[in-house]
Amino acid sequence: MTDTWELIVNPFFNYGGTDKGLFWQVLTSLQRVALGFSLAAIVGVALGILVGTSSLMYSALDPLFQVLRTVPPLAWLPISLAAFQQANPSAIFVIFITAIWPIIINTTEGVRQIPQDYNNVARVLRLSKPVYFLKVLFPATVPYIFTGLRIGIGLSWLAIVAAEMLIGGVGIGFFIWDAWNSSRISDIIIAIVYVGVVGLLLDRLIVFIGSLVLPEEQKK
């Protein structure tokens, strides 16, 4: 209890190296997640719309996505380490590759589920491609995109903790691993509380952003 007390009362200390307060540990992990997840969101939504609008692309790529999405996040780590030769980009890549599948799949589904009525309106009015994208396709797909993002953020937070355990350095994952090696079980417990709370907050954050973007009628 006394060993862990400092961690509890002061999350902001910084003694250099990996000996930092939990706030900094979490912040580092969050930065990685933010970067990896943002990339996944951008690429995933773009790819999802592409695949959703073309049935050729859909039949070509969807089986591939279905296979890849079942690969556990950590299985990507050796490949990314081999590719990037560095710990940090590898961790970010793992986040990216973990979060992207639900985003792609949900976006694709969203595009394919656009009510035929909206498409008929667009066809009758002969809406141009950009207008169709901005006024019909994208707004209609947004709820599905946010479902994908919510699943993606949860997965990436799961993956970051595991990845950091393996690659070391500053981060909440390595902190837990380090505590285990040093037999500081109480540190692990406090870290797990942090991981849980942060995971919950991330999830709520996405929901909150979604509620700002989505019009009233589309909320489920």
Binding site: D117, Y118, N120, V121, V124, L125, R126, V131, P215, Q218
Partner: protein, 665 residues
């Protein structure tokens, strides 16, 4: 009027997952004029929405095509805007933005302020100023539909397509919106095609109602012209004398389709027996005293005696239903008004000509002209009084009714009016109402008089709503009235059956004209499945003295209903030519240059002659001599055009060669 939209022989075939095919639409051919409002009515699944989608370009026909103003439609476009059944508004845009989206896209070449004004104008048009900045989720269904209509109108489509636009709305909202739509369409002269289930809605809004048969292979079953004048008011439309007859006609069609669906399991096949090609006959009749020969033949076993062992009598709601039933093959044969076989062969009312034949005249006389008690109380006692009454009130349109354009009632009523100097199209309005609805229309005051067969004149007199102004004996005693009509194709396909039918009915006619049998016939006719009228009404004229309702003592009239005596039954070419002159006179049909060929071809004296000889009856008709009606102008069948020349009041004559052999059955 130029054709605006041409639906050119469209088929739509859907591929089924099991490799089969479903033919949804078959050979749809339809012409729509500019500014016209056309409704598509039919049962669910009859392909009306598919047709609408093909019109819009959202769906492609498997064969045939759509031509809009001379250009073929291949893809959707804003010149054919659709108002979808479920509104199809984008929920993330406000009312204004939804309309703007359409206007900005379609009317790009207009400057922005013009487009803004257009949007505002259409929001005002449907009265949604207050809701302009609300999203679709925040407004009611009726308001959403108004937005959809405003959006559609704002982009100035050439053709507005409405897919059950008011289906999901409550009655009150629906009524309000219908009126709004009607007003907007009238003001902007929009050409509209609407799919609907609602018969009243279709009648209120449309110029023409296209009735679709049930799928598979749905096609246009019937087209009903809606003659109500525009601008229309709901209450005035309902009061129009034709409203209920049109409504009945449509409902009847829909019921027919429903029954046809149930019957489809057992397709009608000709049952050959007793040496005849077909003994299972469906015959059509209209509830009137002079349907007696059919009823007698059925009830006294005369059909069976001639080998026709499975005859069903179908009580039909209107003469139109009879015409339709016989030409479509639903009915094998029917009692018809005298001009109907001629009218159908000549293509009356711009319909497709169907060659008909008649080998038996079923009855003569039996009609009267009744005017309302109100006119009588104003002093109308004669034709001259009627003319004076009409001239006194030039502001008021007097409406008279007959039962069918080609019926003797229509022709005699018009002849009678014209002989008194009353133009039946300009001075009064002559409309078409089924016999059974005459009295109720007279009672309601929607018509001022009519010409019809019994018991519908007697009934008006007995109920005190009308007075008989003239009977047949005052106009043309002994004229042809009802005939047996079949299509020429049917007569050629089943010659022995046709002969047996003529024989059975000829025997029945003989039976009907024996006064000793008439008491019994009255009881038969009074049954609900036939005329269903009070025997007291049926008796007048038919057996007992006839009360005209003008205070005079009821008098017995010889041959008020004539079925057999005096060589009544042989088809008469002279009468056929007279009828053709009269139909041409009023623009109902063209006058055939080959009038004798047409008349001889339709009036099958040969079949009648054979039937009469086999029964041992006289096989000739009346002597060929000029016809003379009450006004004394002689009609010489050799010079029908001279006769038409002599008649003062008439429409523009169309004289055409009718190529009988080119007409397909």
């Amino acid at each position: 009027m130029a054709v605006f939209v041409e639906v050119d022989h469209i088929d739509r075939v859907f591929k089924l997952p099991d490799g089969g095919e479903y033919i949804a639409l078959k050979n749809i051919d339809l012409h729509i004029h500019k500014g016209e409002f056309v409704s598509l009515v039919g049962h669910s699944g009859c392909g009306k929405s598919t047709l609408l989608n093909i019109l819009s370009g959202l769906d492609q026909p498997s064969a045939g095509g759509i031509v809009l103003e001379g250009r073929q439609v291949t893809e959707p476009g804003p010149d054919r805007m659709v108002v979808f059944q479920n509104y199809s508004l984008l929920p993330w845009l406000t009312v204004r933005q939804n309309i703007e989206l359409a206007v900005d896209q379609v009317l790009q070449k207009h400057p922005k302020p013009v487009r803004r004004r257009l949007v505002d104008h259409h929001i005002e048009l449907v009265g949604l100023q207050k809701a302009a900045d609300k999203r679709p989720g925040q407004i009611s269904g009726g308001m959403k539909q108004r937005v959809a209509i405003a959006r559609a109108l704002a982009i100035r489509p050439k053709l507005l397509l409405l897919d059950e636009p008011f289906g999901a709305l409550d009655a009150l909202t629906r009524g309000g919106l219908q009126e709004q739509l009607m007003q907007i369409c009238q003001e902007h002269e929009v050409t509209c095609v609407m799919v609907t289930h609602d018969v009243d809605e279709a009648l209120l809004l449309s110029d023409r109602i296209v009735l679709m048969t049930n799928g598979p292979e749905a096609h246009v079953g019937q087209i009903v012209e809606v003659p109500f004048p525009r601008p229309r008011e709901r209450m005035e439309v309902v009061k129009h004398p034709n409203y209920y007859s049109l409504r009945n006609e449509i409902v009847y069609f829909l019921n027919q389709q429903k029954r046809a669906k149930q019957h489809k399991a057992k397709p009608v096949v000709a049952v050959a027996a007793n040496g005849l090609e077909k003994v299972n006959l469906e015959l059509g009749l209209i509830p009137l005293t002079d349907c007696a020969p059919l009823v007698v033949a059925k009830e006294k076993g005369l059909f069976e005696a001639n080998g026709l062992s499975q005859v069903t009598l179908n009580r039909e709601p209107s003469w139109n239903a009879i015409a339709d039933g016989v030409t479509s093959g639903r009915l094998d044969a029917a009692m018809m008004v005298a001009g109907m076989p001629l009218g159908l062969t000549l293509g009356y009312g711009n319909q497709r000509p169907v060659p008909m034949v008649t080998a038996l005249t079923l009855s003569r006389n039996g009609n009267a002209i009744t005017v309302s008690r109100r006119l009588y109380d104003q002093g109308v006692r004669s034709l001259a009084d009627l003319k004076a009454a009409i001239d006194r009130r030039p502001d008021q349109v007097h409406t008279l009714a007959a039962v069918h354009p080609t019926s003797m009632h229509n022709l005699l009523l018009r002849y009678w009016l014209a002989s008194g100097g009353i133009d039946p199209d300009r001075d009064v309005s002559v409309t078409v109402i089924p016999p059974a609805q005459m009295v109720s229309n007279l009672k309601a005051g929607t018509i001022d008089g009519y010409c019809v067969g019994e018991p519908w004149n007697v009934r008006a007199v007995q109920e005190g709503v009308g007075v008989v102004m003239a009977i047949d004996h005052d106009i043309w005693p002994g004229h042809i009235e009802k005939v047996l009509g079949v299509t020429e194709a049917w007569a050629n396909q089943y010659p022995k059956t046709h002969l047996a039918l003529v024989k059975a009915l000829l025997e029945a006619c003989e039976y009907c004209d024996d006064p000793r049998n008439r008491e019994e016939i009255i009881d038969l006719l009074a049954r609900p499945e036939y005329v269903g009228a009070d025997p007291g009404y049926l008796r007048q004229g038919f057996l007992g003295p006839y009360d005209r309702g003008d205070g005079r003592k009821p008098e017995s009239i010889l041959h008020y209903n004539q079925f057999f005596t005096d060589k009544a039954n042989c088809p008469d070419v002279t009468e056929a030519v007279w009828i053709m002159t009269q139909m041409a006179r009023w623009g109902i049909t063209p006058f055939p240059r080959n009038w004798l060929e047409v008349a001889e071809r339709i009036k099958r004296t040969d079949i009648f002659g054979q039937a009469a000889r086999e029964l041992g009856l006289l096989d000739i008709g009346r002597d060929r001599h000029p016809i003379q009606l009450f006004d004394g102008i002689p009609f010489n069948p050799d010079h029908p055009l001279d006769y038409l020349e002599r008649l003062a009041i008439k429409r523009d004559l169309r004289i055409e060669e009718i190529p009988l052999d080119a007409l397909k059955a």
